[in-house]
């Protein structure tokens, strides 16, 4: 069952003196684990780089698409970003409350809400983009061009798992 069991509590003095030497017992072989850890590290670097601008990765993605597609339907953005409708609602509510975007009624389909970035939203997004340039440069610096292309391609394949 347990394939390995190197140090245990039996050799207490050793275990205590080297608390960092932890047995991962295969956990670090799980792709899901590695992916989560990598995402966590990148996310923390993102937050540190953004600093006081206070726009999360998700919020940035929404603002980015809204600015690139003025009047896009709320559901279309959520769909493009793989987000639930309810999740999208909460997110857009926050952005709207901060005055970064506004909802308007579609004249083509009365069910739809069209999203537009406000001037304040565009201005913030530009500042965010500048910070993200630095953040992306820093993390991409870890790879050569071929490695970067490979990584992007393999990540895309994981994303395509859910159609």
């Amino acid at each position: 069952m347990a394939s390995r069991r190197s140090r245990s509590v039996q050799t207490a003095s050793v275990a205590v003196s080297t608390p960092s030497a932890l047995d991962f017992a295969g956990l670090d072989q799980l792709l899901g684990y590695r992916l989560r850890r990598a995402q966590g590290a990148v996310h923390r670097d993102y937050l540190a780089t953004l600093g006081a601008l206070k726009l999360t990765q998700k919020q940035t993605a929404v603002m980015w698409l809204v600015q690139g597609n003025p009047g896009v339907a709320q559901g279309a953005v959520g769909n493009a970003l793989g987000m639930d409708r309810a999740t999208m609602m909460a997110l857009v509510d926050r952005l709207e409350a901060r005055g970064l975007l506004r909802r308007s009624h579609s004249r083509i389909d009365a069910r739809r809400r069209e999203l537009h970035a406000t001037p304040a939203g565009m201005q913030l997004l530009q500042a965010v983009r500048d910070r993200i340039d630095r953040h992306e440069s820093r993390i991409k610096r870890e790879f050569n061009p071929a490695e970067l292309r490979t990584l992007q391609r393999l990540l895309q394949r994981l994303q395509d798992l859910e159609r």
Copy 2:
């Protein structure tokens, strides 16, 4: 600045009839974005595979390490998994409330809390491991052995960004 701008609202009829053709405007070139989307897709497959077992990725990682290192200090686990002490507290509180692990006082260092998996915790973890085997097989199936090694290595490099 904006390197692309393929379809816009100018060709309104086209934009409306093809709401799925959304201009990502370079968003999908961000490594942080791709990483988050890949993680989201894998996470949803994880949740679907785990079903009623109700153990999150983080909780699984903690149980995994606790079972592999009986009596390990709470802080050591959080440290190994890149988690804040307060975050770790909340997580262990939930696992303890469900009877999956227990805290005990360390006799070596009275500040420490040693973590042990309960029989119920071990039993649940085993069931979770079986599901994860299927989950991991499904996502790893997307890659050949060389690609998988490459992906793991590149993800590890991102994780190492924060020392």
